[in-house]
Symmetry: C3
Subunit: 154 residues, 3 copies
């Protein structure tokens, strides 16, 4: 399977566990020492290192899932991710970098469905073993209104 198809499949699985569960599988889309950051387009453009959310290994991502569940602020079935197709930027041996646009829709009980977040993933994937795992994901949110970014994984 080519890199494009492997990454497409991995992305589909990634958003599925966030939107429909089990959310515990979300960290399993990363390598053990993966880097993960959520930031805003404005901060990213200005080269500011600080992110809204930050992790540099899989254990931290698992902690984040536990925190979300304990705080009871993560509610599956209330969000829907839609991803664009990955733009493959480089392929070197088993390491592939790509960018992918995303859109997250929020579904409220009786109110309207609205656009919750949009942006792009700046990714580095390892394709070792015929499976695409994230070694690095920087989530760049288009909007700078970051208060709402803490309630679910992006």
């Amino acid at each position: 399977m080519d890199a494009f198809t492997l990454i497409s499949r991995a992305q589909a699985s990634y958003v599925r566990v966030i939107d429909d569960g089990p959310i515990e599988d979300w960290p399993e889309h990363f390598t053990d020492d993966a880097f993960y950051k959520v930031t805003t387009a404005d901060n990213h453009r200005r080269g500011l290192p600080a992110g809204v959310i930050w992790a540099n290994n899989k254990a931290m991502l698992r902690d984040r899932v536990s925190a979300l569940k304990e705080a009871n602020i993560y509610e599956p079935h209330a969000y829907r991710h839609l991803l664009g197709q990955p733009a493959i930027l480089s392929e070197e041996s088993e390491t592939v970098t790509s960018e992918t646009s995303f859109l997250v829709i929020r579904i409220t009980g009786n109110g309207p469905t609205d656009v919750f977040a949009s942006g792009r993933y700046l990714d580095e994937y390892s394709l070792a073993g015929g499976k695409a795992l994230l070694t690095r994901r920087v989530v760049v949110c288009d909007s700078s209104r970051t208060d709402t970014l803490l309630v679910l994984p992006l």
Copy 2:
């Protein structure tokens, strides 16, 4: 062609005939004895069997197209489906199960464009003959406001 690509192509064709016509081709994306149901996330989670819309063969889907056209409530070019990539859950011989997120946008004459529906397809595909046909599609809508779900195929 691999299962992912075959299913991706089938999905693209599926939404095209709904959004841009000919709507008569919509049932042709199913096998003769396919099962089709539209339900809500809430009903689906609670295991309630009843769906908003229900069919267990292709002839019923054709009847539905006729009914929509006669009632004049189906208006092509007024909706736009956007699908995520299929998450392949199992592949066994020529039978593949997958899940795919969807988003439907409604375009009104002079008013704003808004999000009409979102959710996911729980699918079983037959890949016999090098073509992906649905043997089963359960459409799980995120919102429980089902009154609006009757006006177009999902």
Copy 3:
């Protein structure tokens, strides 16, 4: 690589340069004598030839980029394109026709994110040299409110 994957990759690259830059790379997704038109579903259905935007070679597309930059009305990072998967309609030697749905989200500084445009691309691709380049793209916008269509490439 099959036509579906080649076109999917080209589309991902196309929307990336519009949304995140460099916008100068947008014309490079077309062949030298490519035809490009933006029109509305209503005009397209009635067979009206006039389009909102029109070009019949790559140089005109480059001029358009220059004009947008000079007029300062193009602002990257303020829009986000989401594309559906391409529906392949015909494959003949190295020429492939396809249709793809699109959705464009507009991000405003402090206001809400909303749906800016939706519609479909009617495309003809050349796959010569193992790369998908547009020889023809007709952008059919769902809405007839065309005043807003002039601010960014679609």
